[in-house]
């Protein structure tokens, strides 16, 4: 293989991972909320949006690191409060009602932000340490010559990997995680065993919002900060969840990676790139109607 091809492939794979990383963080929250509470949260993109706006303001006032800690914590509270205050009343209602109320929330957020800060993109300056490029050839000896990748995009990938690992450890190796996994399979039985599963599911909703918060802080500088970004991200993220299988975390990760790669490798053919997400969705769902890791009986 020629050196140039290896270089190009490496860059495209990294770009795919970075695109996938933003979708993955949003899709993880979506699928977690769906898997536990059975609610399709169309307001999830709006949570990202709120986080990105908060991050711009907090990082200008208090610095970027303050935003890294404050925004996800605030988003956790927003998510938790949203579940306890509103979404909770919709569990026994049809999916269409849930979609309407969460979609409504998303529109209200979008219009509210438009009214307060205008429809234009708000600049989100990168922190000093995150600007510039990384010379990949210094780390990857198989690369030939000078190969540069924007530092911040690498940061995005690392942040996503960290969040994914932490979530995995929490769900797989803690008692809280065990209860959540058990609750995803049979919440009614957990109640018969004395577990207040609704309370824990509210925490999960908060965690989904927190992860969207992390995505907003680190993704804001990449995706831009404007009122329509929420919806722009929600649609592919929702497709990621469907392709991965509703409620499946592993599925969401794999399919966000697949979509990221599909977008990255079609970047030179913009007509194809516009439709590639839907094309992948159609192909996967034709072969596996429940998505890659979908379980029988979910959302049917």
């Amino acid at each position: 293989m020629s050196g140039n091809l290896v270089n190009a492939l490496t860059l495209q794979v990294l770009t795919g991972m970075q695109l996938g990383a933003v979708y993955a963080l949003i899709a993880l929250g979506l699928t977690l909320i769906f898997g536990t509470l059975g609610v399709v949260n169309f307001a999830h993109g709006a949570l990202y949006l709120i986080a990105a706006y908060l991050a711009v303001f907090i990082s200008t006032e208090l610095g970027f690191f303050a935003a890294v800690f404050i925004v996800p914590a605030l988003l956790f509270m927003v998510g938790w409060g949203l579940e306890r205050g509103l979404i909770k009343s919709f569990y026994s209602r049809p999916h269409t009602d849930q979609i309407l109320v969460t979609f409504g929330l998303a529109l209200v957020t979008e219009e509210g932000l438009k009214w307060a800060f205008g429809s234009n993109n708000i600049p989100f300056p990168l922190p000093q340490w995150g600007t510039g490029i990384v010379k990949l050839q210094e780390y990857l000896p198989f690369l030939d010559g000078f190969v540069a990748f924007p530092k911040w995009r690498l940061v995005m990938i690392l942040v996503a990997l960290t969040v994914i690992s932490l979530l995995f450890v929490l769900l797989k190796f803690t008692r809280f995680g065990l209860v959540i996994r058990a609750g995803m399979r049979d919440s009614g039985m957990l109640r018969f065993l004395g577990v207040n599963i609704s309370q824990r599911f509210a925490v999960v909703f908060g965690m989904g919002a927190l992860i969207a918060g992390v995505a907003g802080v680190f993704g804001g500088p990449i995706t831009q900060v404007s009122p329509d970004v929420g919806m722009h991200l929600l649609v592919p993220s929702f497709l990621v969840v469907v392709i991965g299988g509703m409620g499946s975390l592993g599925g969401a990760l794999l399919s966000s990676l697949i979509l990221g790669m599909a977008l990255s490798f079609t970047a030179e053919y913009s007509a194809v790139q516009q439709i590639i997400v839907y094309l992948v969705a159609v192909i996967v769902l034709l072969v596996r109607p429940r998505g890659l890791f979908g379980k029988q009986g979910v959302f049917e």
Binding site: M189, R191, F192
Partner: protein, 248 residues
């Protein structure tokens, strides 16, 4: 109502360890539990009998405070706690343990994890060591996904999971259903042990003879209403009663 009568009645309800009074419950619009009343004394075993569709499972679910059937009227009390106003997880913490008809072991997690999730909320019953002593088969399979257990093993896990909690009232819904005779024997011996522990139990069983031999009292349901309350032995002796309501 005169005073003497009122006093007598309040005394009676204070005495019964468990009581249901005029309980009505619905699945959506369908009226299923139609004014059920009965009492259980502490450490007693009651066989709750009746034909298919008589409302046995529904009655147990009403006691365990399942969301369906919805209780619209009546009182359920256990050891001076009003159950009928409680959420299911609070009924469980008050000491009610349902071993459901379909077992409902939780798939995707191991046998041991099924026992651990039963011990998240207090009050706790047997610890894992004691459970494994009584259920050696579960000890052998502790790391196995609960969904891969055989039907009999799943039933054992469902009973074991209940024993992991501190039980005041055990509700067993057809513990022998669909099991091979050898497994039935094993579960019967476990239930016999539960009896020696003095755990107050309501057992629903198609095989009424087996349940009646174990039980002190019998309650027979028909079309959502109680048609007989009395000693278990009386049902065993009364052929006509059995022909009429139990088909055995």
């Amino acid at each position: 109502m005169n005073t003497a009568h009122a006093i007598k009645e309040s005394k009676a309800s204070a005495q019964a360890f468990f009581s249901m009074r005029d309980v009505h419950a619905y699945y959506g619009e369908s009226y299923i539990v139609q004014g059920v009343s009965f009492e259980v004394q502490e450490s007693e075993i009651v066989a709750l009998l009746g034909r298919n569709g008589a409302g046995k499972t529904s009655t147990l679910r009403a006691i365990a405070r399942a969301p369906q059937p919805r209780v619209t009227q009546g009182e359920i009390r256990l050891d001076n706690t009003a159950l009928h106003t409680l959420a299911p997880h609070l009924a469980a913490r008050a000491g009610v343990q349902l071993v459901p008809e379909d077992r409902r072991v939780i798939p995707g997690i191991s046998v041991e994890e099924n026992l651990i999730v039963a011990q998240v909320a207090k009050p706790l019953g047997w610890n894992l060591e004691r459970i494994y002593e009584h259920f050696p088969r579960l000890a052998e399979r502790r790391k196995q996904d609960a969904a891969t257990l055989s039907g009999g093993e799943q039933q054992m896990l469902a009973v074991a999971r209940a024993m992991a909690r501190d039980i005041k009232l055990l509700l067993l819904d057809e513990p022998y259903e669909g099991l091979a005779p050898k497994i039935v024997q094993e579960i019967e011996s476990i239930v016999a042990q539960i009896k020696t522990l003095g755990i107050t139990t309501i057992i629903v069983e198609q095989n009424a003879i087996a349940a009646l031999k174990l039980a002190d009292k019998a309650v027979i349901l028909d079309m959502g209403q109680i048609v007989f309350t009395g000693n278990a032995q009386d049902v065993l002796d009364d052929r006509k009663l059995r022909d009429r309501y139990l088909a055995i």
